[in-house]
């Protein structure tokens, strides 16, 4: 009774009924590939988890060479449920990157990037880059030995860019080497700059989806309306989303309890690099590629060549909806399947190779 009165009060002022009616009239196509629709929602949910857990961590985290490691240790050992918040933040970050990759490839293979959703794809690709940057910048924040050397090796790649490399490197690190200045920069990037940009791009991404609706499979183009099964976005799809989110939350809790985020030893710039140092799993394919490249390729340094090809590849991938129509129609599908399949296979093999080597 009380809920109804509250609803009536809000509805009178904000016309909530109209919003619900709008959502009720939004439909989600139902077909054998519908499962992939959920990964966008999972990515969004994990981003929300990241924002909440990150905000909670901010209450105790202190940035600085003499404070970061100690404050994370304090969070893990002394703050009530601090271990849970940090572990959830850690695992949620990893799962979010995984979900974003799955979401991206599902969109690719269902051809949902095609007209009129070109900008949804472009904003999605930007969100992928932002997510990876979140991962890279956040990894340094505990200021432990592994993070220090992973950041040192990772940022060194920037230095291989001809002419402007050393200057760029100094801008990214804030000094010649990875120091407290780098930590402060990465912290600012992680908690202020990236969230701001991410929120903006994410809002655009969601607005595009709301305006254009969920894409239907290409095979539906020739189906009669009676054979097209759809479910209302509200409440049917949203409830399914909610169930999945609850399950993901539970998986996060299980991972946090049985595999809490490790802290390791404090970063020591004068200590030798730990043996077998590797980047996080989502950069392993890139790391392995760079490892396999010879010292010089054509007239460039091997590392720079690798970065150049990766950057150009990423730009090409982002602009996919604009150049795909150039491919003759009869070759389009085989080319796209070969491109997507090859990329998934390449990332999978290189990641496994990097992990095992």
């Amino acid at each position: 009774m009380m809920w109804r009165r509250i609803y009536a009060w809000l509805d009178e002022r904000y016309r909530i009924a109209d919003l619900i009616a709008f959502m009720r009239h939004k439909y989600v196509p139902m077909h054998r590939a519908s499962i992939w629709y959920y990964f966008g929602g999972v990515s969004l949910f994990l981003f929300i988890v990241q924002v909440i857990s990150g905000a909670l961590l901010l209450m105790y985290y202190r940035v600085g060479e003499d404070a970061s490691f100690e404050s994370v240790k304090f969070i893990m050992a002394r703050v009530r449920f601090g271990w849970l918040i940090r572990s959830i933040h850690h695992w949620s970050a990893n799962l979010m990157i995984l979900a974003v990759f799955i979401h991206m490839f599902s969109v690719f293979f269902t051809r949902a990037y095609r007209k009129p959703r070109e900008l949804t794809w472009v904003t999605g690709c930007i969100l992928l880059v932002l997510t990876l940057t979140f991962g890279f910048s956040g990894y340094l924040l505990p200021w432990n030995q592994l993070a220090f050397f992973a950041t040192k090796v990772g940022t060194e790649l920037i230095g291989s860019v001809p002419y402007i490399g050393p200057t760029l490197l100094r801008i990214v690190r804030g000094s010649e080497d990875v120091t407290g200045a780098t930590l402060a920069r990465f912290f600012g990037l992680h908690v202020a700059i990236l969230p701001g940009i991410m929120t903006l791009i994410l809002a655009l991404h969601l607005i595009f989806i709301q305006r254009q609706g969920i894409s239907e499979p290409a095979s539906w183009a020739h189906l009669p309306e009676s054979q097209k099964r759809r479910m209302p976005f509200f409440p049917n799809f949203l409830l399914r989303d909610l169930i999945l989110w609850l399950l993901v939350l539970n998986v996060l809790a299980i991972l946090a309890v049985f595999f809490p985020a490790e802290l390791g030893v404090k970063a020591d710039p004068f200590a030798p690099a730990p043996p077998g140092i590797k980047p996080e799993w989502y950069f392993l394919f890139l790391y392995q590629t760079l490892k396999l490249l010879p010292a010089r390729v054509i007239f460039m340094e091997g590392e720079f060549f690798g970065i150049l090809v990766t950057t150009l590849g990423l730009i090409g991938w982002t602009l996919l909806p604009f150049w795909e129509p150039v491919i003759p129609r009869r070759y389009r599908e085989p080319v796209m399947y070969a491109l997507g399949g090859g990329l998934v296979l390449y990332i999978g093999v290189m990641t496994a190779w990097g992990y095992l080597s």
Partner: protein, 493 residues
């Protein structure tokens, strides 16, 4: 008389070289007199007489075999011309190279009927003496009058070894040129050693310089190739001291190496290659090697175990040990077979170390009992804390501070074990009590960490249960809604 014999040798030399098969030049000139000898004889060069006694002459090696040139040419300029292979500057490294041409070659040694082992000399160029500025073969073996090492007249005869090495190594001005930090008192010390004392009596079976340092493969003690590198010293000493036949002659045991190799020191040095662990020379001395005297044992052990020695000298044991002439540390720990120490050494009620001197009910045994109890309690608590904290760490709990503090407890336990040498239960308690309190507090930290882990699992179980229930409820609600919706649609149709 000696001069006549020498000239007789020269005549023989001339006759011999005229007919010897084997050496390249001489073999080609079998019917020709050696002009080197003839000419230098005319010049009354004493080298000719000296060389007649040389071991190389006896094997038919001519002047030209080392110096080159043409011994058949009667004209001096022609015989000693570089065109005929004469080596004008046979000095420095070229001497060593010349000697090694034969002495490092199995074939050449066999050709001359020599039984010398070429492996023996091969390391010389790389050795510390191998640089020609330091020494060449002739520095030790002499030149033109080289005798077999078994000949007492040879400078490399065992009886003259110390004198030979001391020529350079006892001269500070000379040694300063090569290594200013190297002591020059080795010979002086050697004569004070048991080896030196025996050598003075004419006993040449005792160790002389090269028995430890090798003859030709001499390297600095810090070089792992050296026979006197810390890790190799026990094996070097054992070459003689593990020889029961040789040791029997000196009424010495021959089991020191066997005992040492299973000792705490031996395992550390020989198995772990921890060069901080003592080798034979660290207790017995190097050049002045002697078994340490009874009263000096604590000083010898105390060079490394200084605090233990200090506590021992403060203990009630110090005085009676001196009076009874007991070898201090050795009484409890042994000498060559010093075993890793355990707290059990103090444990009464078993064949304990203390029972060697004490009775079961005397004050000494009561003190041992108290010290044993204190150490065991500290060790037990420390081990308990370690186990708990390790498990907690493996389960991902943050206990690094506690593990760091555990190192302090471990240090206190080591300190407490050292304090036992003072045989003062109060002094021991002063060390053990705070460490024990710290260990107990760490046990509590471990217990709390493991309780926290159980709490986490319980919390997860409840959360999982609630989530599962909520998921089921949502799913049921969804199905109901969809069923109702389908029913409405069908009714509409």
């Amino acid at each position: 008389m000696r001069g006549y014999l020498g000239w007789f040798g020269v005549i023989l030399l001339l006759a011999y070289w005229g007919n010897i098969p084997g050496s390249g030049v001489a073999a080609a000139q079998t019917s020709t007199e050696d002009q080197c000898v003839a000419c230098h004889l005319d010049l009354e060069d004493p080298i000719v007489e000296m060389y007649a006694r040389d071991v190389h002459a006896a094997h038919g090696i001519s002047c030209a075999d080392c110096h080159g040139g043409d011994p058949t040419a009667e004209d001096m300029d022609e015989a000693m011309s570089p065109a005929r292979g004469f080596i004008e500057d046979l000095q420095g490294t070229r001497i060593t190279q010349m000697c090694l041409q034969c002495h490092a070659s199995v074939e050449r040694l066999q050709a001359y009927g020599s039984t010398l082992n070429p492996e023996y000399v091969r390391p010389f160029p790389e050795s510390v003496h191998g640089n020609a500025d330091v020494a060449t073969c002739i520095t030790c073996h002499g030149v033109h009058d080289i005798r077999p090492h078994t000949d007492p007249a040879s400078p490399v005869h065992r009886s003259r070894a110390v004198e030979l090495c001391g020529r350079c190594h006892s001269d500070p001005n000379y040694m300063r040129r090569f290594n200013p930090a190297l002591p020059t008192d080795q010979v002086e010390k050697y004569w004070t050693s048991r080896h030196g004392q025996q050598l003075r009596t004419g006993d040449t079976r005792v160790a002389v310089c090269w028995d430890c340092h090798d003859h030709h493969a001499i390297f600095p003690a810090s070089d792992p190739r050296s026979t006197v590198h810390p890790v190799h010293v026990p094996f070097t000493c054992a070459r003689c001291h593990s020889n029961p036949i040789l040791m029997r002659e000196y009424a010495l045991p021959a089991d020191q190496f066997d005992l040492y190799s299973v000792s705490a020191h031996g395992k550390a040095l020989l198995e772990k290659h921890d060069t901080g662990a003592p080798a034979c020379n660290d207790c017995h001395g190097n050049h002045g090697a002697l078994p340490p005297g009874v009263l000096s044992i604590s000083h010898v052990c105390g060079t490394c175990h200084s605090i233990n020695a200090e506590y021992f000298n403060r203990s009630p044991h110090a005085e009676p040990f001196r009076e009874k002439n007991l070898p201090q540390c050795e009484v409890c720990h042994g000498n060559h077979d010093v075993r890793p120490v355990t707290d059990e050494m103090l444990r009464p009620g078993q064949p304990s170390i203390c029972e060697k001197c004490h009775h079961a009910d005397d004050t000494g045994m009561r003190v041992a009992q108290r010290m044993y109890t204190a150490l065991v309690e500290l060790r037990t608590q420390m081990e308990r804390a370690r186990q708990m904290l390790t498990v907690a760490e493996q389960k991902g709990l943050e206990v690094s501070d506690a593990l760091m503090q555990l190192k302090d407890v471990r240090s206190a336990l080591i300190r407490a074990r050292t304090v036992t040498h003072q045989m003062d239960p109060k002094a021991l308690t002063d060390v053990v009590r705070p460490a024990l309190e710290q260990a107990r507090s760490l046990v509590r930290v471990g217990e709390q960490a493991l309780a926290e882990y159980r709490f986490r699992r319980m919390g997860l179980a409840i959360a999982t249960l609630l989530t599962t229930l909520l998921v089921i409820l949502l799913y049921v609600k969804l199905r109901q809604m969809e069923a109702t919706s389908r029913g409405t649609q069908q009714m509409g149709k």
